[in-house]
Each structure stands twice: as C-alpha cells, then as structure tokens.
Symmetry: C2
Subunit: 145 residues, 2 copies
C-alpha cells in the first residue's frame, strides 16, 4: 500500500520514488511543527530539504488504521522515528534523535494506484507520569516536549 511506500522512500532517501507517490496537483502537507504546504512544488521541495539534512531515518509505524470510502483512503498511524543528521566530523553520523509523531494520510485511487493527496504529521507533546514524579507538577499542560 502507498502508505508503507511513503515511509520506505523516506528511509531510503529516494526522492524520485517519493515524488511518484504524490497525486499531481493540489496536494497538501504538514511536517511536524511546520506551517502548511500546498501544491506539488512546495511539498516536494520540503522533502528534498529534509532528505538533504537527514543522514539516517527509520520509522516504526504503530496503530496503523485504514478507512476507505469510495476512491479515498484515510490512514492514521503513529510514527516512532529514529533519525540522525550529518555529524561535525566527515563520515560520522550525527546524534540519533527519537521522535513521536502522529500522522493522518489521505490517498486517492488513480489508474496508477493509490496516490497521496495529503500528509499531516504532528508532534505528540507528552506529559509522562515520570515528569509528574520529578517536579510534582501535574499541570495538565501539553505545551512542551
């Protein structure tokens, strides 16, 4: 399914494969913490930028749920991301960073298979029980990571 292909293209840094997955035209995309991007040009440029700044990225998808209505598929999933940028030293990998992101991906059925119409990923700003133990402050806020 196209949902897996999206994350595989990201992991492999395969910009051409990723570009081919998107519906031509009026697509939309939100990367975690980013403003809205609309249209193939803007969306694909953002992926080129992300790929250029990412030496290593791996997605562990959980809670994948698919709902299909007519020629539209709505996929939601949790992206457990492990990634690293270029290090200061040449040939080294930058420090690995873990990130918890939830995504809503919308696909349209075309003659060439399912194509991405919209991707929206957002950070889960967790308040863990550990935090509460540490500072004794159960303020219920989700305002910080």
């Amino acid at each position: 399914m196209a949902n897996t292909a999206l994350y595989e293209a990201m992991e492999q840094g395969d910009f051409e494969a990723l570009s081919a997955l998107w519906l031509p035209g009026d697509v939309s995309c939100v990367h975690p913490g980013w403003p809205l991007l609309r249209g193939n040009g803007e969306v694909l440029r953002s992926y080129a930028l992300i790929m250029a700044n990412t030496d290593y990225i791996q997605f562990f998808l959980t809670d994948v749920e698919v709902s299909v209505e007519g020629d539209t598929a709505l996929v939601t999933c949790t992206e457990n991301i492990l990634s690293g940028g270029p290090a200061e030293e040449e040939g080294e990998l930058g420090p690995l960073v873990g990130q918890l992101v939830v995504a809503t991906n919308v696909f349209r059925r075309t003659g060439d298979g399912w194509r991405i119409w919209s991707h929206h990923g957002s950070p889960v700003l967790t308040e863990t029980s550990e935090d509460e133990d540490e500072d004794g402050n159960g303020d219920g806020g989700r305002s910080g990571i």
Copy 2:
C-alpha cells in the same frame, strides 16, 4: 460549509451541534500536541473535555483552501486561536492565550450534507527571525515554541 460550522460550534461551546457534524463511525481526530483519537466515542469525549476546560475560544481562520475529489473534500487552514480557561476567581475569565495551529480537515458528502471524517490540528513551532537576532543562533530547529 461544514468547515465553518465546526469552528462555530467550538466558539459557542455547542456540543450537540459539534457532534452532529461528524460522520457516524470510523472518524479520526488529532488535537494540537495530542495523540490520535479514533471513533465517534473517543473523539466526542475529547471535545466534551476541551469545552469543559475552555471558557472562551475564538478562531480566526486564514489560508483556507478547499480541494474536492468525488464525495470527499479536503480543507486546509490556519487557525489563529485566542482562548481562555476558567480563572481562579469565580466569574472571572482566565488569562487569554494565543495559539497558531494548522489543520487538515477531511469531509464526506452524505445525504445530510458534508460530515467530518477527520480533523488533524497541529501547533506551528515557529522560529522567528527575532530569536535569531537575540541569540545569534540560526540552528534551524523547530523544537521549541
């Protein structure tokens, strides 16, 4: 259009109107910074909780763009939110908080009009040029508000 109705129901704290806007069944919802919610029960309970903790909320929508394919409408918009919770003193309004959120809303056409299939809102974690001037650090990170 159902997109405006969603925000009006929130502003008016009208839980019944808000409930009637959702497609019955397999809906999904992400509030800014929250994990994924699926199904009418979970989604509507989250709105009841938000309404109970919100004394005042106003949305100024910008960049509203609609894209329709068959019986599905994809709406993206920027939500400029001004809200306030209950204050410590009874009868007073809590401090007002501004928030910048981007949303992807998916609707299905039904016999009763457009119904919400999915709502995904996420915080825009801005890095302003002011920040860069202050600390001279253009690290390109979007890790903090």
